[in-house]
Each structure stands twice: as structure tokens, then as C-alpha cells.
Amino acid sequence: MTRHVFPATWEQAGHAALDGDAVVVGGATSVQPWLTSTGAQPSVLVHLRDVAGARSVDGMAGRLRIGAMVPVADPALRPVFGGTEPVWFATPAVRRRATVVGNAVSPFGPREVVPVLAACGARLVVLAEGGTRSIDVTAVPPNGLEPGAVACAAELAVPERIAFRRVALRPRLSRTEIGVAAALGDGCGAAISVGVGGPTLVVEGAAEFLRDPAGSPGFAAACCSAAPDPVRQLVGGLAVRVHRALHEPGGRS
């Protein structure tokens, strides 16, 4: 029998998450299908919905702190997604429930928002048995955080401009197969993702090319060097589009 726990504080949440095979629930858009489709019965479901501060987006000195219960569609996150709602992420109904932090750590499905977060230099605030720590958003293992750990928030830079281009079978709804994200601003950079549910890789040395309106070839080369062979040219092509989008925001790319 699964026990449902609704902690009011992060301390309570962290304590509850240490219970056996507890599963932490944010927006539940991944957990619920997992429970339904597998018939899994974890001993505890730790729902974060009532945790104080979990729904807040706090901005300060060009940075954002996104609480664990902030949904992808939250208008306060628009600067992170280029001034609009990320229509490439699932459906409107899912975007209203799925959380940014939950997606970034989910072991159940592709972490679609991670390339964008990584381009903004995002780090996750993780509460675990040993205390609170900060980890790079791209460093979450494929099977999620370790048992007992709770991702409380994401902290990232507010980009001056950001662009994300991806390859997917359908313009919307379909999962990202290859993605390139880049952002301009302090602490920002670029990231690529390769393969549905595959890793997100930070593109080293991208910042200098991103600032330079003529830096498209260099940026593309940097992205290509981070990509595996079979998709290198495709990543390069997307990188050119991303660079163009950053420097010609009203243009077609």
C-alpha cells in the first residue's frame, strides 16, 4: 500500500524521501503514467505541492531561482524560453502541470528542458541526507537523483537572449532527438542534446562565438566538436540557426 505524504517544509520533504523506496512527486506528469502503466507501488509518494516556497520564482541580480513546483508554463519563466511558452514541450495541459525542476531530474522520460536550462548555466539545489548541495543540471544521472534526494530548486542566469532549435519528428509534441540551445548573458553559454532521452552536453568555449555576430562558424565548430560523429553535421547546421536567431531575433531561422 502506497502512503502519500504532503510535507510543508523542505526538511519534512527530505525526511519523508528517506523512507524506503520513496518517490518524489512534483507535477506528476511523469510519475502518474509510470504508476499507471507499470502498476508500481512505492512505499511512499512524497508530494511537494504544499512545501512552502516550492511554487515561487525569485529573481535577483540577473538570476532566477525556480522552485520545485513551478510549472513549465509559468509566465515568469518566459525569459528562459525566449519570451514565449515552450510550445515544443508536450501539450498545453502538461505544460501547466509539469515542473521545470521535476523534468530536469526525472528518471521516467526525456528531460526536454535541460538543454535550455544548461544554456543558462543552471544548477540544481539538491537536499539529501548529507545536507544541501548544488549540482550542474547536466550532471543528473540517467536514473535520477540518488534515493532520498530531493531537488528543491533550479538556479540559473536570466539570459539577455536565448535560442533553441531542435530536430523532432513533429514540430510539437514529439520528443527532441537533437537540440542546440544557446544564450547570451553572464553565466550563459550553449548546450546540445543528442538522442531522445540522451545526455545534454555543455559546449565548451561557446561564449566568445555567441557574442560575436560573425561568430557563427566558430560556434558551429564548437558545437560539432561536442557532438558524436553521426550527428555532427546536423548539430553544426542547427548551431548556425541558433546563432542566427540570437543575432537576428526577428529574422527567420
Binding site: T36, S37, G39, V87, G109, V167, A168, L169, R170, P171, R172, L173, S174, R175, Q233, L234, G236, G237, L238, R241, R252, S253
Partner: protein, 712 residues
């Protein structure tokens, strides 16, 4: 009061759905109900050594477990009776039902299903349909691997030039949104009542009674709400299992499939492999057509035989050929079964012929539209395959013109994309055809309070209920009309398939209403009363008198079909597709689809447009994304809408329906069935548009994406 025939209006049933008041099958419950779950084969081909349910029966809440041993030799099948109720002795495809477990809760039933142990001698499966009829192929069917074949050979002319192509189509799923579900309730009189979402109550009733050895009055089937069908509910899924479980336990039993189970439980569209040779003269006149078409029927026959017939009948499209040599064959394999799906083979045939026509246009470097005009049959000319004259329908040129008259989308293609436009012409029969009985019974009951139409026709969302309301209302103006869904104690309406219900049940109800109206007029004359333009309750009370209820029941099976007239009526369709293809990624973005279709007469124009839009989108999905993926061992990999990529509104932003009305002289109101037509030619049109944009040959659908033109 019904909306008049031909006028736009809201369907009452739609409002109930929007309010959440429509009772879909999964929403049905009964006091004391039990819950059933299916155990399915994990492999495509095996000999069953043992099905061990001992552990399952120890699960808390376990009630009973049923295996093939409980129903040995019992077979289902709408056309060929070859499908066991539960596999006994052998399994023929991955996902085949092997056992049904029953418990006091859904969770316990799932736990029981997981605890059933299968001892199987796994055998090498036959996966490639091209091997099915060759030497050394393991026999899958009851008498070899041939399900059906059709051959037409006429004339020996050949043109000076030739194109040869091989075309493939994939395994599309009906993907109705409400998965299979049902509720079986034992009655104190010993019978079982089954509520189920199906396309054909009576066909299910006949199959289940035969398979379980029940007399007709020991089983009553009722319609539940149906959340889409598209052919996927034409065959048995939960029905026999639920009845068997209810009989075994003596308690109500319900079963609801999840999406993953639904995607393996009902037949798919037949995958097709076709080798085509078309010869033509220098002026682009077609001369001969040769096809060798192979359909993968999967492990059981289902509707493979009639699908073979439809593929065959429409493989030459609406074009003139002096000579044809056509052979269409369906075979057994160990793949998941294929069966009925919207288009019923005409979709594959259309892709075959229309893609070949485009190939000729490319060879000649002529406009594909002009090439079509040059070779289309004139009205009244015989179809190349069946010889049936193209009558009762619009001139295909007029339908093509109607599609082309719609303005193309404004604005340039997306960045770095190339835009392509494709057209395709489709034809499919409406009604069962080939002399098969195709009756529908409707009863119209008139009281001073209004009219009740009684029919067992399944409204799967296509709108037959609204058609019945309107056609009856037309003959009895001013009288409120209600439609009551009958169960199997009422005569059959035939299935909601083959685009037939508007013609069949609509025709029967119209005739019954017409007779009642005639009786009213006669009674009025006898009584010396005026015959009003619109009837009022007072008029009816006065005329019906002490009779209180007047009733007319009509069974209609017209016009008849046979060797000289294989098909009752034709659906004639034209699609134009505009697609942008991203040069870098190969991603295909559908920009606009136009569907023009001869509807005869659109009884419910909003419903008709809905059919045109929905079928067109379903066809676009078939062309680009939708496929049940099966691995080399015959196991289906697709498990849900995360990997079965249905085309949605965001994928097909602009669909323009164009209703062409060419009334059929032998059908009530001239109205033809239209439901399948929109899914017939849209895949071919989308494929043509991708070819035009990308230069790719697109020999197979779903395409998923065009070839990327990655910069060096």
C-alpha cells in the same frame, strides 16, 4: 427538433460528450463487479506446453483464471473462423490472448496476470510476408499461408514507355481514443448482457455465441458509448472473454484495456508491398497496368479477404487502361493481425496508383494534374479492374477542380525549407458490395409526443444518430425526433463500417418515416382534415386516435450488388497537400491540406466536414508518422502515444473540407457514405508533396522525415 437535411447545426450527442455525460464503455460499472485482465503471448510463434495459473490464483482477490483449456477448439472470426477465444496448443503472434484472469479489483487482476506462467516452446516466426508462400515457410494458417488472392487480366496492349516502382505502406493503427472496454452482466434468466464499444453488435453477437456455444437468446449485446472506431472495433477483443468470465463467475465482469494493450489487441491496417509497372505512350496516355501486391495479414484472417478485394478493385484508380494484369494477395504471417481500417485497402491502392502516376509525370516532365486529366475516366466509363461503370458519382475532374480551387497558403515556406504541393485522387466503394448481404433495419414509432427511431446502428462518433434524426424529421416536419439505440434483440443495422450507415440505416429510417407520413396524410384525407406543412401534437392526437402508436419497421438492402455491379456506390475524393520540408533536418511540416469529396448529399454538413477533416488528418499521419513498429522477432515495440505518433491539430494546422454534392439517384436524399474517402487519398497527396519539396522518391510510408541535405 431535428435540423433540416443539408443545414448546418449542432448534434445533440456532441453536447453530451462535451458535458462529460456520454457513457463510454470504460465508465460502465455494475454492483458486485469483478475485473478481468488478459495474459498475452510474449513471443510471435510457439507451441504451448502449459499455462500455469496456480500462482495467479493465490493472489489476494483472485477469483478465477481462464485458459485455452476452458474453451478448446472454440474459434472467432468475422470472415474466417480461425481465431481461438484463448490460444490453445499454439500461439501465432506476440500479444495473442493466452489466458484471462478475474479478480475483485483491477490491481489484483493485473497482479494475477503477471503471476501466470507460460511454458512455451518458442519457434522461429514467419515475419517476412514475401516468404509466406515460398518453399520452407512454416504453415501459419489453417491450410497454408494464403488468406486470399484476386487476379484480373484483361487485354494485352503495351505502351512505348514504362515506369516500374515498388511501393510499401506501413502498419497504421485505428488509434481510437477510448480503448477497448466492456461490462458483462449475468441475468437471472441465465442469459448474459454485454455492454461494449463495437462497430457491429450483431456480428459480435453471432461470433461470441458460436464460439462459446450459446444460443442466440442466451446473450444480449448492448451499445455502450463508443470513443472512435475507424475499423479497429470491427473484430472481437474483450467480448468473448467478458462473456466467458461472467458465465464462469456468475457475477458482473468488466475489462478495460490500457493504451499499450489496445495497440496490440485490435488489427492494424494491412502493410502492403506492391510492384507496379505502368506503360504509356509518348503523349502520356496510359496503356497498361501490372501490379503484384502483397498484403501482410498477420496471424489470423480477420478481414484480410475483403480487404484484398478492395485493394484489388481500386488498384487502377479512376484511370483508363487498355490492358490490366493485376494480382493482389494476402498472406498469413506471425506478425500482429491486420484487418479493417478506414479506407479498407483503398488507401493502400490509392498510394500505389497515385504514386505511380506521379512517377510517370516526373518521367515525362509534365504537370501531374494535367497527366491525371488526360487519363481519367469519363463518367459512365468502366473502371479498369471491375468493369463497373463510374456512375452515381461526380466526374472526378470536377472533384479535382474543387480541390484545386482552394487558395494555396500565403507566405513563404519556413526558413531553409522547400515547399512542395501534391495532389491525389481517390476512389472507394460505400457499402459492402460484391453481392454480400448488406441489410439495415430501422423502426420509426410515432406518438402524439413525437417520433422515436429505433436502430442498432453503432454511432462511433461518425454521426449516424444525427443522420437518423434528420432524415426522419424531414418526412415528419414539426415532430420531435428521438433516437434509441437497440440491442441485439432488435434486427441488425449491419455494421458501422464500409461507410454504409447513412445509406443503409439512414435509408431504412427514411423509408419508414416516409410510410408513416403517407399514413398520416391518408388518415387526414379520410377524416377530411387538412394536411399541414408542419405537424403539431394536436394534429397527431387527432389522426392517431385510439391507435396511440403507429409503427413502421423497414429492412433495407438496396441497391443490390452482384457480379455485374460489384459496388453499391462510389466515394470520389481529391486531395491537395502543401508540405514544407526542412533541408537541413528533413523534417516535414504540413502547411495545408484540401479534401474535396463527392458526398452525394451532405445530410449533416458539419458532420460531413468533420469526416473530411478527420480522415484527411488520419491520412496525413499515415503518410508521415503513424506506425505500429514490429521488431524482427514479430514483437510490437509501440506501446503508447509517446511512440505512436498521431497527427494532431498542431501538426496539420489548416485542413479545408470541400463538399461536392452529386446526388446518387438510388439512395435516400442522394446521400452516399463518406467516412472512409478522406483517408483514402490524403496519404498519397502528402507523399507527393514531400516528393515535390525534397526530390526524395518516397517509396514507403510512413516516411517520418525526408532525407536531410546536411551541408558539408
Amino acid at each position: 427538433m431535428p435540423v433540416p437535411v443539408g443545414r448546418r447545426g449542432v448534434r445533440p450527442r456532441d453536447e453530451a460528450k462535451l458535458r462529460g455525460e456520454h457513457r463510454f464503455a470504460a465508465m460502465l460499472h455494475a454492483p458486485g463487479e469483478l475485473h478481468a485482465a488478459t495474459v498475452r503471448s510474449p513471443v510471435a510463434r510457439a507451441v504451448i506446453r502449459r499455462v500455469d495459473t496456480a500462482a495467479a490464483l493465490t493472489v489476494p482477490g483472485a477469483v478465477t483464471a481462464l485458459t485455452g483449456a476452458d474453451v478448446p477448439g472454440r474459434r472467432l472470426g468475422s470472415k474466417v473462423v480461425d481465431q481461438p477465444v484463448l490460444a490453445d496448443r499454439e500461439v501465432r503472434h506476440a500479444g495473442e490472448p493466452v489466458a484471462v484472469v478475474v479478480a475483485t479489483s483491477p490491481r489484483a487482476a493485473r497482479a494475477m496476470a503477471a503471476a501466470v506462467s507460460l511454458d512455451l516452446d518458442v519457434l522461429p516466426p514467419l515475419i517476412d510476408p514475401r516468404r509466406a508462400l515460398g518453399p520452407g515457410a512454416p504453415p501459419i494458417g489453417p491450410a497454408g499461408n494464403l488468406v486470399a488472392t484476386a487476379r484480373t487480366c484483361r487485354g494485352d496492349a503495351r505502351g512505348r514507355r514504362v515506369v516500374r516502382r515498388t511501393w510499401r505502406t506501413g502498419r497504421q493503427d485505428a488509434a481510437f481514443l477510448a480503448p477497448e472496454a466492456g461490462l458483462a452482466v449475468p441475468d437471472p434468466d441465465g442469459s448474459v448482457h454485454l455492454w461494449v464499444a463495437t462497430q457491429d453488435l450483431h456480428a459480435d453477437h453471432q461470433q461470441v455465441c458460436r464460439a462459446l456455444g450459446l444460443s442466440a437468446d442466451e446473450l444480449v449485446l448492448h451499445h455502450s458509448g463508443i470513443g472512435g472506431a475507424f475499423g479497429g472495433r470491427e473484430d472481437i477483443t474483450v467480448q468473448a472473454h467478458l462473456v466467458l468470465a461472467a458465465l464462469r463467475t456468475g457475477r458482473p465482469v468488466r475489462m478495460v484495456y490500457g493504451r499499450a494493450e489496445s495497440l496490440i489487441a485490435h488489427p492494424s491496417r494491412h502493410p502492403m508491398l506492391a510492384e507496379v509497372e505502368l506503360t504509356y505512350d509518348d503523349d502520356g496516355r496510359f496503356v497498361s497496368l501490372r501490379t503484384r501486391t502483397l498484403l501482410d495479414g498477420g496471424a489470423y484472417a480477420h478481414t484480410s479477404a475483403p480487404v484484398t478485394g478492395i485493394v484489388h478493385d481500386f488498384s487502377a484508380g479512376m484511370y483508363r487502361f487498355a490492358a490490366v494484369d493485376l494480382e493482389t494477395t494476402a498472406v498469413y504471417t506471425n506478425n500482429p493481425p491486420a484487418g479493417a481500417m478506414r479506407g479498407f485497402g483503398a488507401t493502400q491502392a490509392c498510394f500505389l496508383i497515385e504514386s505511380t502516376v506521379d512517377a510517370v509525370a516526373a518521367e515525362l516532365d509534365v504537370d501531374p494534374v494535367e497527366l491525371r486529366r488526360r487519363n481519367l475516366l469519363e463518367p459512365g466509363e468502366p473502371l479498369a479492374t471491375t468493369g463497373q461503370p463510374l456512375t452515381g458519382c461526380a466526374d472526378p475532374r470536377a472533384v479535382l477542380d474543387a480541390a484545386l480551387a482552394v487558395a494555396e497558403p500565403a507566405g513563404p515556406p519556413a526558413y531553409a525549407a522547400r515547399r512542395g504541393t501534391g495532389v491525389a485522387l481517390g476512389i472507394k466503394s460505400a457499402g459492402l458490395g460484391h453481392g454480400r448481404p448488406d441489410p439495415a433495419t430501422a423502426e420509426v414509432r410515432l406518438t402524439p409526443d413525437g417520433v422515436e427511431v429505433v436502430s442498432a446502428a453503432a454511432d462511433a462518433g461518425q454521426g449516424v444518430e444525427e443522420v437518423l434524426r434528420r432524415v426522419v424529421g424531414h418526412h415528419l416536419p414539426g415532430v420531435p425526433v428521438a433516437v434509441r439505440a437497440a440491442d441485439t434483440r432488435f434486427p441488425t443495422a449491419g455494421g458501422s463500417k464500409a461507410s454504409r450507415q447513412t445509406m443503409a440505416s439512414g435509408g431504412a429510417a427514411a423509408r419508414a418515416a416516409e410510410r408513416l407520413a403517407g399514413r398520416l396524410r391518408d388518415r387526414a384525407r379520410v377524416l377530411g382534415r387538412p394536411v399541414p406543412d408542419r405537424w403539431t401534437p394536436a394534429d397527431l392526437t387527432a389522426l392517431l386516435g385510439s391507435d396511440a402508436v403507429w409503427c413502421e419497421r423497414v429492412t433495407l438492402d438496396e441497391p443490390r450488388t452482384g457480379p455485374d455491379r460489384p459496388h453499391k456506390a462510389f466515394q470520389v475524393i481529391a486531395h491537395r497537400a502543401v508540405v514544407d520540408v526542412d533541408e537541413l533536418t528533413g523534417e516535414c511540416v504540413v502547411v495545408q491540406l484540401v479534401c474535396a469529396q463527392d458526398c452525394g448529399r451532405a445530410v449533416d454538413p458539419v458532420g460531413a466536414e468533420g469526416q473530411l477533416v478527420g480522415g484527411t488528418v488520419q491520412g496525413a499521419g499515415f503518410a508521415l508518422w503513424e506506425e505500429r513498429a514490429v521488431d524482427a522477432a514479430g514483437r510490437q515495440l509501440t506501446t503508447g502515444f509517446g511512440d505512436y505518433l498521431l497527427a494532431g491539430a498542431t501538426d496539420v494546422p489548416e485542413v479545408v473540407p470541400v463538399i461536392v454534392e452529386h446526388p446518387h439517384p438510388e439512395l435516400a436524399f442522394g446521400a452516399k457514405g463518406i467516412g472512409e474517402g478522406p483517408a483514402v487519398s490524403s496519404p498519397a497527396a502528402v507523399a507527393a508533396a514531400v516528393r515535390a519539396a525534397s526530390g526524395d522518391p518516397v517509396p514507403a510510408i510512413p516516411l517520418r522525415r525526408a532525407t536531410p541535405r546536411v551541408p558539408a
